[in-house]
Subunit: 547 residues, 2 copies
């Protein structure tokens, strides 16, 4: 710690309990348990050179470092390390926006830059590019991408890792490395071409612990002329399949690249089921015929999807016209509504003017709206008593995938003796293009003042782990998870007796011989911790070194 | 060899000179030289299990294997290994098309599948998807992608590695590994989501030697309704900058995703310069004012770009209308021509009906047309006496990049005392989206019966190496190169005293401890060969072990 302090100064090394406690995961499902994931200290370097110095010191003492950008990925662990006792390497001070180019349409940022920062910079300079934002507007574009985070504007920009181009990395042994064209001195194409020459290493830093990323480029969408918002409603439960097929065509052809917002007038979102729907489900999972009869008896509309189309207004209208033709040909009685064509950039009022929901996300405007949707105390909104642990699994873009996951959730609820909330009408989430995600049994996590907190959190973890395993057994894997579940999730990806993990482990040991960068992140442990301590789930014996 | 034969049978192990000679690079710039890159034998396994067995045997004897798919990447080395004496692992027999899905729009293939195979399969089954083809129609989609190859239809599909989703790999120690969702048993989303969980390793297998890829998925473009072909002509040399800016907008907005075909009515392609243009260049590189005056005196059109727009006809027309508005606003006197809107699928006749050039490439139809463009003997077209070594460097999408590279080529020609063929009017090539490539000083390579072959090839190598280094010094790197130039190219990517290569080397040694998979590919050598034998260029002392 003394050596760390020599690098960053006394102000930026945090060892006192009241400071270090702020680096706990405020919504950990292991809050207050002996095996909660907690750091021993935190250190905040000012620049890349300080990062290198800290890494060299950490190597001398075999001291694990857990790098974070802004640490705002609540539900996935936020600032908490995957190995208790690690020192959080807080990169918040490295917050320079290094370049935003609205001719070649890219940005280069440091880890501490937030979506709010980047948006404000672009607005103030009058640059004609959009960013793509996830739920946490206070989060870091870099941190989000490195966690395989997602957003809400046009594909492929919603895939934040997939939209990056070029990285600078401090390796686990303290060297500075640039990837892609960044490895060629004097190259001006670092954000234009990703691969450089030879093996492309960038993938290793997403959900990985192969180094500390200190700069990262992102491809941006040029500011569109307009955004069309339109809705398709289809009458039959079975219409899901052809509707998805047609939307796949439209998206993969890059005709409608906006996010599909799926829903059903019959309820299938995250709210509680209606009494009528609960009655349908009371006798076990209903047959397709029963479901179709229910749809006919309750308004005759099974599925609804809202589409966002970006471009000049005539292109939007021609694309929407074509979409209607295709879908009408595939699905008799499909209904269509063009809700609006919003000329861009919008006025402040227009962003919030849409009658059904605010538009911020779909316009690339960072916000914190989603952070208000979970349990809040009305009289103390800044201090929510509970959080939740998100659970989204990857499914193919097929009706079959949607039906299978809804059925697995129903069966899991029954297996666990839970009140059933599952529904045949829950639709997919369309963050990534080329696949859907299904929100599954995300669970609440409870903090300090909750009565029976420990038992409630244990129950949440049990539900989460059971659903995760049931989904995985059927071939549905979560795309990310809370630090408490990294091992459990990665254990499911077992093809070839875990050959992928062994391959990763061999490389990890080679580039990080002392195992100092984020040990345990996404189940990848350095050799010295691997055999003694791999936890098999959140309730396995604690592998953690307590503070 | 006896053990190899026990795995594949006598028919599929090749050790006789007349067989092994077919695995030389027929157009090697080192043809017949002592340091030509040549194999010692070849072996062709029937399936993944045989690949595993061969790898295990190779490990016992520390025998290098050089995997090829179809080996048709002429100009880049085709079947020749990067380390002489390696045994070519010829995967041509593994040629199953495992799946083509025209609802989710992907394909899964083995290494020996060719573009012709895949196209024929799709046509015969009446599937409504396109493939994206590079010049060699007899090449392998997998091999091409793993070499960072490129094609001609819509972006981002032209980026073949960037369009892949999911791999199966035999590791250098003989394990079978699947990446992304392929690591989750029972997952049906292997081709829908790339990253799986944890660090994403796929990038290591492109231009890499981290394993032997045995299956690979690719995202496909759904068959479009039509293709519009249109041309923009601009009057001034300086109009290049705003024209590129506008095209960047249109491409990055996904409004015009087809390949831009750049040219100039004033000559700047690969043919010889006109006498008038040579006169302009005779007194040294002309000033911008001289160039503009030359343009005015010779027809008043400096640049021309042909665009391809895919989609339903009304969307094509609306997009083209918008493109004209934008470009006309930015560039006074720009001229526009919509050449045709071709309804798809085309008839056989329509593919070749376009008056200026055949459409095969832009319609995703595999062909061998480009293979006819270089030096052929009219009376013996199947046995061309010479080939060439391609040279394309990455440039940013800016007029500045185009001008810089054209000037470097001019200076290099003078430096080498070559007849000057450089031109201010050479335009970029638009294979990758988000960057351009510039064809630079590709050189001829000479075969058996050429008089003074050895001296001519030496001169070609000198020209190539000089241009490569001059370009790299200014920040322009080749995106791939012939096996004879791998070390030379990678040596230029030296940021941080070659920190990227050291990082890759550490991982290579970890997963391939005996250094048996493609040693030397893209400058990445295993530990046992690294120190003794890194060649520093094609004319450095031969590192190779001669057969």
């Amino acid at each position: 710690m003394k050596e760390f302090q020599g690098v960053v100064g006394a102000d930026w090394l945090f060892t006192a309990d009241e400071d270090v406690d702020t680096y706990r995961d405020a919504y950990s499902p292991l809050w207050g348990e002996p095996n909660e994931y907690i750091p021993s200290a935190a250190v905040a370097p000012a620049d890349v050179e300080q990062v290198q110095q800290l890494v060299r010191i950490a190597n001398r003492y075999k001291l694990p470092l857990y790098p974070i950008s802004t640490g705002k990925n609540l539900t996935y662990g936020s600032t908490a390390p995957t190995y208790s006792g690690s020192v959080v390497l807080d990169l918040k001070r490295m917050n320079r926006i290094l370049n935003v180019d609205d001719k070649r349409n890219f940005a280069v940022v440091e880890p501490g830059v937030t979506y709010f920062d980047l948006y404000t910079y672009i607005q103030e300079k009058g640059l004609k590019v959009w960013i793509d934002c996830p739920d946490p507007g206070w989060g870091s574009p870099m941190g989000n991408a490195l966690d395989h985070g997602v957003g809400y504007t046009a594909s492929p920009f919603r895939d934040h890792f997939g939209s990056h181009c070029g990285m600078e990395v401090v390796t686990p042994t303290g060297e500075i490395m640039r990837t892609g064209m960044g490895a060629l001195p004097n190259a001006d194409s670092w954000q234009d071409y990703r691969y450089g020459v030879g093996p492309w290493v960038d993938g290793l830093f997403g959900q990985g612990n192969f180094g500390i990323v200190t700069k990262m480029g992102f491809w941006l969408l040029p500011q569109p002329e307009a955004m069309g918002t339109a809705t398709v409603t289809v009458p039959r439960y079975a219409d899901l399949d052809p509707l998805i097929d047609e939307l796949n065509y439209l998206e993969d052809s890059m005709l409608i690249t906006g996010m599909q917002e799926w829903g059903s007038p019959l309820g299938g979102g995250f709210g509680a089921r209606s009494p009528e729907l609960s009655a349908l489900m009371a006798g076990g999972w209903p047959s397709d015929e029963q479901i179709e009869a229910y749809v006919r008896a309750h308004g005759g509309a099974a599925w609804q999807v809202r589409l966002h189309i970006y471009g000049p207004e005539p292109v939007i209208r021609a694309s929407w016209e074509y979409a209607q033709q295709r879908i009408a040909r595939a699905i008799p009685d499909a209904a269509f509504e063009l809700e609006e064509v919003l000329k861009l950039p919008p006025t402040r009022g227009q962003i919030r003017s849409h009658e059904r929901q605010p538009h911020d996300d779909h316009l690339g405007i960072p916000n914190m709206i989603t952070f208000g949707m979970m349990a809040r105390r009305p009289n103390d909104p800044d201090n929510p008593p509970q959080g939740h642990v998100d659970m989204f699994c990857i499914i193919p873009r097929t009706g079959q995938g949607v039906r299978q996951v809804n059925r697995i959730l129903y069966d899991t609820e029954r297996q666990l003796g839970m009140p059933s909330n599952a529904s045949p009408f829950r639709g997919p989430t369309h963050w990534y293009h080329r696949c859907y995600l299904m929100g599954a049994l995300g669970v609440p996590s409870y903090r300090d003042d909750t009565p029976d907190r420990s038992a409630k959190n244990r129950r949440s973890r049990q539900i989460y782990a059971t659903a995760l395993k049931n989904l995985a057994a059927a071939g549905f894997g979560l795309y990310r998870t809370n630090v408490a579940m990294h091992d459990l999730l990665v254990n499911q990806f077992s093809f070839g007796d875990h050959s992928l993990r062994r391959f990763q482990e061999a490389m990890k040991d080679a580039v990080d011989p002392n195992g100092i960068v984020a040990p345990g992140r996404y189940g990848l442990w350095p050799k010295r911790l691997r055999d003694q301590s791999r936890p098999n789930g959140p309730d396995a014996p604690a592998a953690a070194v307590r503070k």
